[in-house]
Amino acid sequence: MSKFGGATAKVIKGALKVRQTSFRAALTLTNEAVSRIRVLLAQQNDANALKIGVRQKGCNGLTYTLEYAKDKQKFDEEVEQDGIKVWIEPKAQLSLLGSEMDYVTDKLSSEFVFRNPNIKGTCGCGESFSI
């Protein structure tokens, strides 16, 4: 599928930072997430979007993954915001519905975080979640 390296994401249950829209968007990106994705894509010669997937993994069942993608697959959901594209693979779409993708920075670390209203719980570090 993808020749780029993948990584896994932190998931938080609960309220969105961005004000809720009247309908449930597939995924909302914060300004910080958009900026970070723009930086990441600019560093890649042949990636056109970030692709979000989901894997059976970790102590709480499911883990989101993130990787560079060149081509949109047939059933990928596309989210475009401020010129930045995110593709969501079919298996991840249902559990991500209505979520917010953020990029949180402090002195010791910076990372993508998904605020997900659909999940039941996460493990302590937030990498693994159940629905």
Partner: protein, 134 residues
Amino acid sequence: MLTQKIGRLMACTVTRQAHRMLTEQEIKVTNKAASRLKEVVDNGERLRLEVDGGGCSGFEYKIRLDKKINNDDLLWKSSENGAEIVVDELSLGFLKGATVDFVEDLMKSSFRIVNNPIAEKGCSCGSSFAPKMD
């Protein structure tokens, strides 16, 4: 007043010298971690490494910035840029021989403790581990 200041300075010096320095066999620190640490610390701040009970594999690493230094702390200092790391004696027992790194990937950039010879397995994000039984 001046005597008080000198006294305090001397006490400080004595206190600092009392903290045993960590050896290369005890803690390794990558250049990237030392360099990043220098960038983020305020004056008098150090990176504190701790091992706590918890997480999905039984024990977990805690990494934070700390201006305090305690009696049972051991100290690592970069010969390149003077950045400092402290770890208490009890926590050192759980991570002796490990490496402090600053890991960057697509999703996250952060300080991490890697290659811990005492850890048998851990969860996939690397913050929790189970010690080998020996």
